[in-house]
């Protein structure tokens, strides 16, 4: 059995309300919540980045179940905001946990780099190359001030340790779908990403999520009713509900893992963190479908079953994600600019 | 060991010397001391220069050689070296000069102290001064020097209940005395209210609890006590020169409310001079931050632990009090060109003991004590001077 051995999530304490962002740009304060389904989003503190978030998420995972560094065979860190353009985040993670013999690499695939990391580790465990591997999705994504992404781009991350012993959630199957669809991108050297506006919807998000979800269920011989929970990539609060409805899932199946309304889009962290919210409450036998989406564009889909092992697993050793969401310090747009280093530095 | 005496003393005004360089300052003070000693530069057999960080402040190391060169004695080929012990560099240079005379190796030495600090912007000065703490495990993590002093103050206030108002008495007294010193950086009085309402530097320390960034230099000429009267009618004996150190970082210490290096340097100095705290007629206490002066006064035996503020409140630290405190204005008002400070304190005591201190003269002063510290009271150096 190959699956999740432990997991941990981290979102920064600071939040900004979308109404506050709207106030600055002269938009009707209620519109972001109505239109995007986002009330607030996380803001990384001045000294937080994708690497620090990754470490905090991983430490939460290790608090729940400690896997010694020497037993970790692989580390993949998925992010579109790695602190360095050249210099891996994965090597920092290896140093922090003392996993000096691990295969370590960074991944980037817009918002699906986190699930790409999970697939890579899953494959190495399944192939018998390693006993345990770390997969992390983490981001401190940035939207250009005043752009639509200013309302959603946020920060957070989740770490999974995947292995074959004491698995709390078995990964039954995983598949991917990819096409060359540039709905969102950032050229080398550009500070903020660009996007195709409404083009990010139908030909990008919906086409890829639906194709991957359908094929996964086809290959597993399942339908929406076979799943207790569904997690879809959540660039805003609306898309995952809409794609779920089209696929035949109910709001109830999606709600537990739908975090974007409160924390915004954590990009590479989004689907992994939504899944962690489900694992925070899941019971043995619960079945979960999780489908990510990364612009550019592709989706990874997972079929997961929670095992009896979760009863013995110390979930309370680290803060659950909905509890982290409740702990929040709201800041105004000026503090947001300070934290996000958007105040022009003269030196 | 020979007894050591000061036969000449001189200093520049402390403050912002926009038109003077490091070498201008040190040469000015050195020549004043030489002139005061009734010798010529040619008589000097060795130079000890106290300086914390010319290498960082003005990019100039090898300060000893620079001093000798621009004092005009390069051709004499005498030894000249820089002595560094952070803000106690001046007193450390004096300690070295003292040893040089006491040992009999040299008969006349010039001890100088100098710092040129205002050539850089404030944030860079703050960073350089922070080098007196543990760069890797205090400063790197965001602790500035005022921040470290503030943590001493916070803990002290927590343990003894001293108030910010009580702490503010110390800069108020320093300024009252500084107002009488024409060479002081600040020559104006301030109020407790002004201290409390000044911009916060590191809570609970406002900018008025902190000494300023000053340029300046001070120098003394030393010889043996038995030779001193050949040069002057009013030599001043250095009856103690004591130096002690402790852990460089605050977090490694047993306590933040006392300085074991000051206690030890004081103990050694009193023993060496055969004096007790009650024999001291005036003190120059290191008040880079109010809290350091407060702990210094207590650790040198002038007040019970936690009660130095009472001396201030009762007026005992005034010029006519039982313990005239920082008649020069101290580091707070006279200024704190770090490498010069320890020598400058001694220059002040020499003036006082010679009855040459003008409006700030302490009546009948015969014994004075100078307390100079480096870092967060990491290095403490105590000199006791007396008329002979």
């Amino acid at each position: 059995m190959v699956g999740i051995v432990t997991y941990g999530s981290y979102v920064p304490l600071y939040r900004i309300k979308t109404a506050e962002i709207a106030r600055i740009w002269g938009d009707e304060p209620s519109h972001p919540e109505k239109g995007l389904g986002i009330k607030s989003k996380t803001v990384p503190a001045y000294d937080e980045d994708a690497a620090t978030i990754a470490v905090e998420a991983l430490r939460n995972a290790l608090r729940r179940k400690n896997i010694p560094g020497e037993r970790i065979g692989a580390i993949f860190v998925g992010s579109e905001s790695h602190p360095y353009a050249v210099k891996p985040t994965a090597s920092l993670i290896a140093e922090v946990v003392g996993a000096y013999n691990a295969h370590a690499a960074d991944l980037e695939f817009a918002c699906k780099a986190g699930t790409a990391a999970m697939q890579n580790v899953y494959a190495m465990v399944k192939a018998g190359m390693i006993d345990y591997g770390i997969a992390i999705g983490t981001d401190t994504s940035q939207g250009q001030p005043g752009d639509a992404l200013d309302y959603s781009a946020s920060a957070g991350g989740t770490a999974y340790i995947i292995g074959k012993d004491e698995v709390i959630a078995e990964i039954n199957h995983t598949i991917s779908f990819v096409t060359d669809t540039p709905d969102f991108w950032r050229r080398e050297g550009q500070r903020y990403p660009s996007h195709g506006g409404r083009f990010t919807g139908e030909p990008a998000y919906f086409k890829h999520v639906m194709t991957a979800a359908k094929r996964l269920m086809e290959e597993m011989g399942t339908g929406p009713k076979d799943y207790d929970y569904a997690v879809f990539h959540q660039p805003n609060g609306k898309f995952p509900l809409r794609v779920g409805k089209r696929l035949g899932f109910t709001k109830e199946q999606i709600e537990q893992g739908l975090l974007t309304p409160y924390i915004g889009n954590t990009y590479s962290g989004a689907t992994p963190t939504g899944l962690s919210a489900v694992l925070d409450v899941a019971k043995p036998g619960d079945r979960i479908i999780a489908v990510s989406f990364g612009s550019g564009a592709g989706s990874d889909a997972f079929d997961i079953t929670v095992t009896d092992e979760i009863e013995k697993f110390n979930r309370d050793a680290a803060p659950k994600i909905w509890d982290q969401i409740k702990r929040a310090k709201y800041i105004d747009y000026a503090q947001y600019l300070k934290f996000r280093r958007m105040i022009v530095e003269v030196d | 060991m020979r007894e050591v005496a000061i036969i000449g003393a001189g200093e520049t005004k402390y403050g912002e010397h926009w038109d003077k360089s490091l070498r201008d300052l040190v040469v000015e003070a050195g020549l004043k001391a030489v002139e005061d000693a009734n010798i010529t530069a040619d008589d000097v057999q060795a130079i000890f220069g106290g300086n914390m960080s010319a290498g960082s402040f003005v990019g100039q190391d090898h300060v000893g050689a620079l001093i000798a060169d621009f004092a005009g004695v390069a051709d004499k080929k005498i030894p000249a070296m820089r002595i560094e012990s952070a803000c106690a560099s001046g007193a450390a240079a004096l300690h070295a000069g003292y040893m040089a005379i006491a040992s009999g190796m040299y008969d006349i030495v010039l001890v100088g102290g100098v710092e040129k600090m205002t050539d850089l912007p404030g944030d860079m000065v703050t960073d350089i001064l922070a080098g007196a703490a543990d760069r890797e495990w205090e400063v790197f993590l965001g602790a500035t020097f005022p921040a470290l002093a503030a943590m001493m103050a916070r803990r002290y206030m927590h343990e003894f209940g001293m108030t910010k108002e009580q702490m503010a008495l110390f800069p108020v007294i320093a300024h009252k005395h500084g107002a009488l010193n024409p060479d002081a950086h600040f020559q104006r009085e301030i109020t407790v209210d002004a201290v409390l309402k000044a911009p916060m530097v590191a809570d609970p320390l406002t900018i008025m609890n902190c000494s300023p960034v000053s340029d300046g230099s001070a120098a003394v000429v030393l010889t043996s006590a038995d030779m001193a009267r050949k040069y002057t009618d009013s030599p001043i004996k250095i009856s103690a020169s004591a130096f002690a150190n402790e852990y460089i970082s605050l977090h490694s210490r047993e306590s933040l409310i006392r300085s074991v290096s000051t206690i030890e340097a004081g103990r050694k100095a009193y023993k060496m001079a055969k004096k007790e705290p009650k024999d001291i007629d005036l003190v120059e206490i290191h008040d880079a931050f109010s809290i350091i002066a407060i702990e210094g006064i207590e650790d040198l035996g002038f007040a019970k632990k936690g009660e130095a503020w009472k001396l201030a409140e009762e007026g005992q630290l005034n010029l006519d009090g039982s313990l005239p405190y920082n008649p020069s204005g101290g580091l707070k008002a006279k200024g704190h060109p770090v490498g010069a400070t320890g020598v400058g304190q001694v220059v002040e005591i020499v003036k006082q003991l010679r009855n040459e201190a003008g409006k700030r003269q302490v009546d009948g002063a015969e014994v004075g004590l100078a307390h100079n510290v480096g870092g967060t009271m990491t290095s403490s150096i105590v000199h006791i001077l007396e008329v002979m």
């Binding site: 000294d47 690497a51 | 944030d123 703050t126 790197f140 530097v201 970082s249 977090h251 490694s252």
Partner: protein
């Protein structure tokens, strides 16, 4: 660009690893090669020791100065933290309103950016503290 000076300390800074004197049992942070209590006895014998990251505020201050590298973080809270293992540690307290901090407040270590060598240089990571709730 300063690289090795911080690189050689990375394990201590990332994971709060100090040293313990096997002679007297005293734990030190930052690491020491010589135990001040045991002197020569301890040379070559000091062992690495993992701190828990827990502690309480022993003293603190709120820094309002313009500090090189910390300019955009002011005002920030600096503290000396008393650990249950023995050593005190200097570090920032983050994610807190300065008014909330008090002596005795329980804290735990978190992983944060500490400093950056300009915009092009190395980012140095290490420990800071947050209120332990």
């Amino acid at each position: 660009m300063v690289v090795p000076r911080f690189w050689r300390e990375r394990r201590y800074r990332y994971s709060l690893i100090g040293t313990r004197c096997p002679v007297c049992g005293t734990v030190y942070f930052p690491p020491r090669n010589v135990c001040p209590k045991c002197g020569r006895e301890s040379v070559g014998k000091m062992e690495e020791f993992q701190l828990s990251g827990k502690g309480e505020v022993y003293s603190y201050t709120v820094v309002h100065q313009n500090v090189l590298g910390y300019k955009y973080q002011k005002p920030y809270v600096m503290a000396i933290v008393q650990t249950p293992e023995g050593p005190r540690i200097t570090g920032q307290i983050v994610d807190i309103d300065p008014e909330e901090v008090h002596i005795g407040m329980p804290v735990r270590a978190v992983f944060r950016r500490i400093a950056e060598d300009g915009k092009a240089g190395i980012i140095q990571y290490g420990y800071k503290f947050v209120k332990d709730e």
